[in-house]
């Protein structure tokens, strides 16, 4: 396939965004929908072809489009690179994006700003594509901040809503904190590698494994430091513990946005980054340890919060965060390919769950609180089936050697790799991961039961209007559902099986002694079975809690008291950050403004001088007239005096 077609897979969405964004009023709602959906669907079709060429036939393509920044030895081009890692991401991004575009035609059908919405979606897709096709760190950063912008715009899509405004700013700023780390990482990379092109960096990384450099006054191992700085960026974008507070709030955006950006694609960018930089991370074992620990902790913290929330979208959001934790600790134990495998399967089933949840919310006329749902599974059977498929895939249900849902293959591979790790943190991650498997199953079925079963808790008026979504919304879920069922079973061999070294074709690098995916075959049999052994009881517990003994959850919550409140209030991260940063920043700002600028600087500076001159002026005359020409005159006199003085001296 030729270069223009590769470029089309990246730039068609931009074209769609451009046309719908600037000429939306001219071409109308329908025109905007056609242009943007068309752009992304074509890009998706091309992505499949690219996947076949690159991942299955082993071609690697790289195009330099134009120079971007050149300053001294710092050189960066606009370039596209297509290896297997990129090709997988293209399928995920363009595939899910095109389905979300079509779904949005129905879901957002009655909105007053359809062209704007479609344009933002396509713009997001473009930035995401730039991120995954980049051949250097800086263009990746371009896509990285670009998807952050698109996310900001889409969370804020209903801009009359104050909660949406706040959530959008929060998302952008928390991501900026991550990007601050990312940028410092880029600076550091240029210092140690002399380049920010991936090829140059990866080529030099092995020789620099033991290099030390000075960072913030400390002598630190160079590779580990830059890897950790870059990882701060990944933590921000992928909502890992500490920089995660924006993701649940981001659910203020329309549901298709949550599915595309805050579940399937953008939030996985951090995982992609670590996999892309595997040739660096492999030589920074300390960094890998941090990645593993952060991932494992995020998985369990988010999973536990997910157990207690009542907003249907927030439950899925915390689930996403938790699954991202899985992906990170997989990367941390050098099972990058398992991380990307889970990224891919997760994209299918989580987009399915979100869009299914959108369909539920649609049915309930906008209600998102699960306490006000229930009893509708017969009324919207197709959505119900989708949600089952998504939940089964998420919980990773399957039978080894026979068949499993998508998540079964990828999640098991992650846990087995962690168990096979030769490091202590790998084993810790395994055990936390197993507990999370229980939590995942529990909150998934809690969601299913609360939403669809039991007696209806919505008011009669709402219940009358409960209806199945139109086919423009249900149709796009078919490919996602197929993916959620079969993707793991079908792609297992490529991603993490025998064919994987041909498949990845060098786009992921693992040191021989860290090959946890190989070693995973030799872990004890019980360690392989344990995740399933925890997931199934999760389902049973949920059934007991929410169907057989519906008064049990309240009792348990009461019995746990403080612990329950801690989890229910999301470990008080928001309150802590609000106190530490938001209030502190505005307090400092006020102190500097009123006390610093107006008080000290002006008080002793110009105003003080003015007061002083005023006092002197009282005695020696009215020098301080306030007329321009007086000042100008004084200036000229002064210059003249100087010139004269000089004249006589020389």
């Amino acid at each position: 396939m030729s270069q223009p077609l590769y470029m089309a897979a990246v730039f068609f969405p931009l074209l769609g965004a451009f046309i719908a964004g600037l000429f939306g009023r001219k071409i109308g709602d329908r025109g905007s929908q056609i242009v943007t959906c068309g752009g992304v669907l074509v890009a998706a079709a091309l992505s499949i072809k690219i996947f076949v060429d690159v991942a299955l036939h082993g071609e690697i393509h790289a195009f330099t489009l134009a120079p971007w920044i050149q300053s001294g030895t710092f050189t960066v081009n606009w370039g596209l690179q297509f290896d297997t890692l990129t090709a997988v991401m293209l399928i995920v991004v363009n595939g899910v994006s095109s389905m979300v575009h079509v779904y949005s035609v129905g879901y957002m059908g009655h909105d007053k700003s359809i062209p704007r919405f479609m344009s933002y979606l396509s713009l997001f897709t473009f930035f995401m594509l730039m991120l995954v096709t980049s051949d250097n760190l800086l263009q990746m950063f371009f896509g990285w901040e670009g998807v952050g912008l698109a996310s900001y715009l889409l969370i804020n899509f209903w801009y009359e809503k104050e909660s949406a405004n706040n959530a959008a700013i929060k998302a952008f700023l928390v991501n900026r904190v991550g990007d601050f780390g990312f940028a410092l990482g880029i600076f550091g990379c240029f210092l140690i590698f002399g380049s920010v092109q991936f090829a140059d960096m990866f080529h030099k990384a092995p020789d620099l494994a033991n290099l030390s450099f000075l960072f913030l006054g400390h002598t630190l191992p160079a590779l580990t430091t830059v890897c950790l700085l870059l990882f701060i960026g990944a933590m921000g974008k992928s909502a890992q513990l500490g920089l995660h507070t924006w993701l649940p709030d981001a659910m203020e955006g329309p549901t298709p946005v949550s599915a595309l950006i805050h579940a399937a694609t953008m939030v996985t960018a951090g995982v992609f980054m670590v996999a892309r930089l595997s040739p660096m991370f492999e030589y920074a074992p300390m960094a890998l340890m941090v990645v593993t620990l952060v991932g494992a902790l995020t998985a369990i913290v988010a999973g536990s919060i997910g157990l207690t929330q009542f907003d249907i979208k927030r439950v899925i959001a915390y689930s996403t965060m938790s699954q991202l934790g899985y992906m990170f600790f997989a990367a941390g134990v050098s099972a990058y390919s398992a991380a990307i495998f889970h990224l891919m399967t997760h994209a299918f089933f989580k987009a399915l769950l979100f869009l299914g949840a959108g369909s539920v919310i649609h049915a309930f006329s906008g209600e998102q609180d699960m306490r006000k749902m229930g009893g509708i599974w017969r009324k919207i059977p197709i959505t119900y089936a989708y949600m089952w498929i998504g939940s089964l895939a998420l919980a990773g249900i399957g039978l080894d050697g026979v068949f499993g849902m998508a998540g079964f293959y990828s999640k098991d591979m992650i846990l087995e790799s962690a168990a096979a790790s030769s490091h202590w943190f790998g084993h810790l991650a395994y055990w936390l991961g197993v507990i999370v498997a229980f939590m995942t199953a529990f909150y998934s079925w809690r969601l299913l039961i609360l939403t669809f079963h039991g007696r209806p808790r919505a008011d009669a008026h709402t219940m009358e209007h409960v209806h199945e979504s139109p086919w423009i919304m249900l149709g796009p879920l078919v490919p996602l559902a197929i993916g959620a069922i079969f993707a793991g079973w079908y792609a297992d061999d490529w991603f993490v099986g025998a064919a994987r070294s041909n498949f990845w074709n060098g786009s992921i690098f693992v040191l021989a002694q860290d090959n946890t995916i190989d070693k995973a075959h030799f872990i004890p049999e019980w360690e392989k079975w344990l995740p399933m052994g925890f997931a199934l009881p999760g389902i049973i517990f949920a059934y007991v809690f929410y169907t057989l003994k519906p008064d049990l959850p309240g009792k348990v919550a009461k019995a746990c008291g403080g612990l329950y409140r801690l989890v229910y209030h999301k470990y008080y991260f928001d309150e802590l950050y609000d106190f530490l940063f938001v209030r502190m920043a505005s307090r400092l700002g006020r102190i500097f403004w009123v006390g610093g600028d107006d008080g000290i600087i002006d008080g002793y500076g110009p105003n003080g001088v003015a007061a002083l001159t005023g006092r002197i002026a009282k005695y020696i005359g009215a020098l301080q007239t306030g007329y321009v020409y007086h000042y100008a005159f004084a200036m000229v006199i002064g210059v003249a005096a100087f010139v004269t003085w000089f004249w006589f001296r020389s």
């Binding site: 120079p67 971007w68 300053s71 104050e162 410092l184 700002g589």
Partner: protein, 501 residues
């Protein structure tokens, strides 16, 4: 070489326009004379811009020295010459001046309603002074124009400003004048030492270390006020708030750059050893400026004050980059200055758009404007994003390179400076959210009309440049890179230090 004195032409073309207005426009407040004055000013400034584009054609971008030079003996007994020329650095400031003046005229056509004739004269005179300053290669000429800029600007604030204009103009004058006096003394000392007023003769390492240190401080007093650097910045918010829109635009886009330009042209090129000596001081002040003024911007309730404080923070990146003394830092500083000219100029124009309609700069008076002014919202968003340095816009390239340069000098600089990038996003998005989003809709705000054709003409060129510089900065870098490269080579040779990539 140009076959005609192109620099003199573009310097004095605006002044000729000002004279035409003075001579031919009679009667001050009649509609006809107002329109005539506006037309003359607009066409003169446009003509100047078109003529100034020819210097890009005549300029040989592969050379590092001064080009298009014009030298005529002026006062032979003192070795003073009328000496003009540009290099890869000053060429951009000339072009920024000539680009923004017609845009300011357009803005003033909608925003200035009293003494229009005099306003246009002041604006055109100001343009002559700015171009004259950036093209001067003789210290006397340089000083004349450097101070000359003050007078029309002072008048623009003092006559056409808002309610507190007298205090603002006085503060502006006091600060800058104090700096200028010290600079004048330093110029005398340098001229006395070298025996000529030729600025090119003073480059390199011509002054003994002790003397250089005093000279450096004297110049720094002037440039630190102009830039402005913390703690010499408190005149800026007042000047901006009170100035009419066109005045704010010129002030932010061009006048502040006189500080950065002076730091490169005089501090670095003429006093390299002292610059090396004082670099830690500049770093400290820059970092304070970035964090301090960003925090102050966060709590502002006046649009113009907020953008004024953001300017101080952005200039912090400039001084950080310049004194990093490496290619990325200096190139980054240049790009921040060029970008800031477009972006802050445009942001002040944006404020002007609603100020002309509702006559208030109070942020709380506005809300939800995305609804009834979608095009305005888009334009404002583009410049907001450029201001917070989103990759792909002009703000990113400069900020990134200057921080990269700062990192190479010392990682602490990039670390603290990077905090400013986070805070920058905070105060700009918070501003945008209060103006354009939100639940409460005010009746008079809802009735505001969207951008008109005149306003489009102001914004479109700046939008094009913001993306051009963001996506293809080579257009700009390639012109100044040979010069910055030479400046750094000379600097490191003089300071006896080693040059990093």
């Amino acid at each position: 070489m140009a076959p005609w004195p192109v620099l003199t032409t573009i310097t004095f073309l605006p002044l000729i326009g000002a004279l035409l207005i003075l001579l031919f426009v009679r009667g001050d407040e009649q509609k006809r004379s107002v329109v005539l004055a506006q037309q003359i000013a607009l066409w003169t400034s446009l003509l100047t811009f078109v003529v100034s584009l020819t210097i890009l054609h005549y300029f040989d971008a592969s050379q590092s020295g001064f080009q298009l030079t014009e030298k005529h003996v002026w006062i032979p007994s003192f070795n003073i010459a009328y000496y003009k020329g540009i290099d890869g650095i000053s060429i951009w400031f000339v072009l920024i001046s000539t680009l923004l003046t017609p845009i300011c005229v357009l803005s003033a056509i909608g925003g200035v309603h009293k003494r229009t004739k005099e306003f246009m004269i002041a604006l055109l005179t100001l343009e002559t002074m700015m171009i004259g300053m950036f093209t001067a290669l003789d210290f006397v000429l340089f000083y004349l124009f450097f101070e000359g800029v003050l007078i029309p600007m002072f008048l623009i604030i003092g006559v056409w400003g808002g309610a507190g204009r007298i205090y603002a103009a006085y503060k502006f004058f006091l600060y800058t004048f104090l700096g200028s006096v010290l600079m004048l003394v330093a110029i005398f000392a340098m001229v006395y030492h070298v025996g000529t007023t030729d600025m090119t003769a003073m480059m390199g390492n011509k002054f003994p270390k002790d003397m250089a240190i005093w000279l450096w401080l004297a110049f720094f007093a002037s440039f630190a006020v102009k830039t402005p650097m913390w703690p010499f910045h408190t005149w800026l918010p007042y000047a901006h708030v009170e100035a009419p829109t066109a005045g704010s635009v010129i002030l932010a886009a061009v006048l502040l750059k006189m500080g950065g330009y002076g730091l490169i042209r005089i501090s670095i090129q003429m006093l390299p050893t002292a610059s090396a000596y004082f670099a830690p001081l500049v770093f400290t002040l820059s970092l304070i400026a970035i964090v301090y003024t960003s925090l102050v911007a966060l709590v502002q309730t006046d649009m113009k004050k907020l953008i004024a404080y953001s300017s101080v923070a952005h200039m912090g990146f400039v001084t950080l980059g310049i004194f990093s003394m490496n290619q990325q830092g200096l190139d980054g500083a240049m790009l921040v200055m060029i970008s800031h000219a477009f972006v802050s100029g445009a942001l002040f124009l944006c404020v002007g758009v609603v100020y002309d309609r509702l006559h208030t700069r109070e942020i709380a008076r506005y809300s939800n404007m995305a609804d009834n002014m979608p095009r305005y919202a888009l334009v404002f968003m583009i410049f907001t994003l450029a201001s917070i340095g989103l990759p792909g816009t002009s703000g990113f390239v400069g900020e990134f390179l200057s921080l990269q340069g700062a990192y190479l000098a010392n990682s602490w600089l990039a670390f603290v400076g990077g905090l400013g990038v986070i805070l920058g996003a905070a105060y700009m998005l918070w501003l945008y959210r209060r103006l354009f989003y939100g639940p409460d809709v005010k009746d008079d705000v809802r009735l505001l009309p969207d951008l008109n054709a005149r306003e489009y003409c102001m914004f479109v060129p700046l939008i094009v440049l913001v993306f051009w510089l963001g996506v293809h900065p080579a257009t700009f870098i390639n012109v100044f890179a040979p010069t910055t490269d030479k400046i750094l080579a000379d600097y490191h040779q003089a300071a006896g230090s080693e040059r990093t990539p």
